[in-house]
């Protein structure tokens, strides 16, 4: 898996604003991809690509808010920074409720925007890492047998081998064998590792 460089996706119908922002981001060495409309963005966007979205809230056809809703519907979790030519409190409140990272009113202070973009990219990265860990953990946990998963949950819940044996009406020895397989299959180095992994996989 190649590590992709994060990209700042830029959606604004105003050509000048878009061009200027591209230039600015370019000057800081950030990769950018600019689109004049929500539709153009959706057409080219690959959800697997890390980065963040800088989105104008008011656009013809599909507004920023509508695009946000479409992304949410498709479980795309990219951090969004809204730009508004004319923000109002109810609108920004709604945007934040729907998971926006920030809401900047034009004309904005560029350093603030760059700061927010930096944060958004970090957020996206940690989101993706978490997701990757979860996927990884899930795959590992998925390789366990049903009995092993059962034992793992009891281990993670803090029970000693003896208690688990009594609960499952098995011998302590059998539990010890299961435990060995679990650690081996999941690659966990310690009990702490296993607990983290179990949580990350979302197994219950």
């Amino acid at each position: 898996m190649t590590v992709q460089q994060p990209t700042v996706f830029l959606v604004d119908d105003d050509d000048a604003v878009r061009d200027a922002l591209e230039l600015l981001l370019d000057s800081t060495g950030l990769r950018t991809a600019a689109y004049p409309s929500a539709a153009a963005f959706l057409e080219n966007y690959d959800a697997g690509h890390p980065g963040c979205l800088v989105l104008d809230i008011r656009m013809p056809a599909m507004s920023g808010m509508e695009l946000q809703a479409v992304l949410a519907e498709n479980s795309v979790n990219i951090p969004i920074i809204f730009l508004s030519g004319h923000g109002n409190v109810p609108m920004s409140a709604r945007a934040f409720r729907s998971g926006a990272v920030d809401f900047l009113e034009k004309p904005f202070d560029e350093s603030v925007l760059l700061e927010r973009i930096e944060e958004a990219i970090q957020l996206d990265q940690s989101n993706r890492d978490a997701l990757a860990r979860q996927t990884e953990a899930s795959t590992r946990v998925a390789s366990l047998t049903a009995r092993e998963r059962e034992v793992m949950l009891l281990i993670v819940a803090g029970h000693a081998n003896k208690e688990i044996a009594r609960k499952l009406k098995l011998s302590i020895r059998t539990i010890e064998t299961h435990r060995g397989h679990i650690m081996e299959k999941t690659g966990a180095q310690s009990l702490a590792d296993l607990i983290e992994l179990s949580h990350a996989s979302g197994t219950r």
Partner: protein, 539 residues
């Protein structure tokens, strides 16, 4: 402006009309009272003439009839009279005469017989023939046997005398004399006199001395024997009785006319007071109604003024807001370009300080311009929104009332489909009314841009969800094509020749400021449909 016609009928005018009417009514009633009092008086005058004439005739007849029967008696019983004359002191003969007279004149009071010279033949009989009677008898003979009736007392009571000659007609032997009680006269008066009137016999030689009334002789009356000048003036009619010293007069009761006049005046007063009271009551009602009307008018005017004010504020706000949006884009671009330039220069080894300064300043100035715009927008913002629970249907009715005349004049059919029992919305009434009015005006204008002849404007309200009210305005105009649908809410976008492109933008700002949404259904051809939502007041 509605209701601006001059006040032809203000309360003051009503008052004047009422006053004139009252004066006229008063005059009519007074005239009527006066007239009916006059009629009453005339009627009683007639009554007096009739009863006086009738009674006088009857009395005259009574007197002459008495004389006639006495003549017949004197003639028939001449031998008996001669017998008495030949032997006046013979009690037996006298008693025979008395009983004979009694048989013919049952009511007689006194009886005597005189000789040719008037000397009474039995002077001391029961003192019945007193001085006055004797003098009368002499007068009677001296006047050639002509009768002068009047009443006079003797110790036994009042009476009047009737005399006839007896013996040969051309050579009478004396006077046959009978006296009668005044009761027989009184009976006639009592029978004929009308209620409220007194028939009186007065002495003509001693004017105003009462002789006989319906009650009997003057002594029965318990009053002065003479009439006062006041009473004399009150006499309605008077007539002389022949062969007597009597005038028969009709004297009405003192109270008769006065009480009638009072009754009429009282009746008029009662009618007048009733009329005045009813009139005043009506006037009061009218004035109250008028006051209410004026108050309502004032409120309507105030409401209109509020609406116009809010309209101006909104237009200003929306223009500022629209300008802000339009200007913020280039300002933002300028600022960003400058920043980008600065960052590019930053990578140079040899930084041109003056260029850095210029770019920094340009960036700062664009930020400053943005700040100015923000300040203006804050200033013209929705600072005067007063939210409280409102009845959305009432607001719709209010708004509709403003386009009522326009809509009727233009032949637009208005259909209201308002849900009953809607909960109150939390909103500023004036602003919401403004939104509805904008939508209504747009709808009416849209329906006149095409050629379609059926023009139906439909306004409905409903509960869209547990906490949301939805109002829908639908027309039968050409509808919205895709391009229009995209930009119809943009500030300064308009399809009208002289529109500013603010109405829908303002409306959307207002609704969004209320936490609701305003949108249009897409699609041309089927007419345009606009919806907006408002939050329901917490229960």
């Amino acid at each position: 402006m509605p209701n601006s016609q001059p006040d032809y009928l203000s309360t003051r005018h009503y008052g004047t009309y009422a006053l004139i009417t009252l004066v006229m009514v008063a005059a009519m009633l007074a005239w009527h009272a006066w007239k009916s009092t006059g009629n009453f008086r005339e009627y009683h005058q007639q009554l007096a003439v009739t009863s006086v004439t009738g009674a006088a005739d009857e009395l005259e007849f009574l007197l002459s009839e008495l004389q006639r029967s006495m003549r017949v008696f004197a003639n028939d019983k001449r031998s008996l009279l001669e017998e008495v004359a030949s032997d006046p002191d013979n009690d037996a003969i006298w008693a025979r005469l008395e009983s004979t007279v009694q048989g013919h004149f049952p009511e007689y009071y006194g009886l005597t017989l005189t000789n040719r010279s008037g000397d009474v033949m039995r002077p001391d009989f029961d003192n019945e023939v007193d001085e006055l009677c004797q003098r009368d008898i002499h007068t009677f003979i001296e006047d050639g046997y002509s009768q002068q009736g009047y009443i006079h007392p003797n110790p036994m009571g009042y009476h009047f005398d009737v005399m006839v000659p007896w013996g040969d007609a051309d050579n009478p032997q004396g006077v046959f004399f009978l006296s009668f009680p005044p009761d027989i006269l009184a009976r006639v008066l009592k029978r004929i006199q009308s209620p409220g009137h007194a028939l009186l016999l007065l002495r003509t030689d001693e004017v105003d001395l009462i002789e006989v009334s319906g009650e009997g002789t003057r002594t029965e009356l318990q009053r002065d024997f003479t009439l006062s000048s006041d009473e004399l003036a009150r006499i309605l009619y008077s007539r002389n009785i022949p062969n007597s010293r009597w005038d028969l007069v009709d004297l009405p009761d003192e109270q008769l006319f006065r009480s009638e006049a009072l009754r009429n005046a009282g009746y008029a007063a009662v009618v007048f007071c009733t009329f005045a009271a009813v009139g005043l009551l009506m006037l009061q009602q009218l004035s109250r109604k008028e006051q209410r009307r004026l108050q309502a008018e004032e409120q309507a005017l105030q409401h209109q003024a509020d609406l116009a004010h809010v309209d101006r504020i909104n237009i200003m706000g929306e223009m500022a807001s629209g300008l802000a949006h339009e200007l913020n884009q280039p300002l933002s671009a300028i600022s960003t370009y400058c920043q980008a330039g600065l960052r590019i220069i930053d990578s140079f080894n040899d930084k041109p300080a003056k260029l850095v300064h210029a770019l920094e300043q340009a960036s700062m100035q664009s930020q400053r311009a943005g700040e100015i715009i923000r300040r203006i927008r804050r200033f013209t913002g929705k600072g005067m929104v007063r939210r409280k629970p409102i009845d959305i249907n009432r607001v719709i009715h209010n708004a509709v009332s403003y386009i009522d005349t326009e809509q009727k004049r233009k032949g637009v059919k208005l259909v209201l489909e308002l849900a009953d029992g809607l909960p109150a919305a939390i909103a500023d009434e004036i602003h919401i009314e403004q939104v509805i009015l904008n939508l209504l005006h747009n709808a009416i204008e849209a329906m006149f841009s095409g050629s379609d002849n059926t023009r139906i404007l439909r306004v409905s309200s409903k509960l869209a969800s547990a906490d949301t009210l939805q109002v829908t305005v639908n027309d039968t105009g050409p509808g919205l094509d895709a391009a229009m649908h995209n930009s119809i809410f943009d500030t300064f976008y308009t399809t009208k020749k002289n529109g500013m492109g603010l109405g829908l933008a303002i409306s959307r700002s207002i609704i969004e400021a209320h936490g609701g949404q305003l949108w249009a259904d897409p699609g041309a051809g089927a007419g345009a449909t606009f919806h907006f939502t408002l939050s329901v007041a917490a229960a």
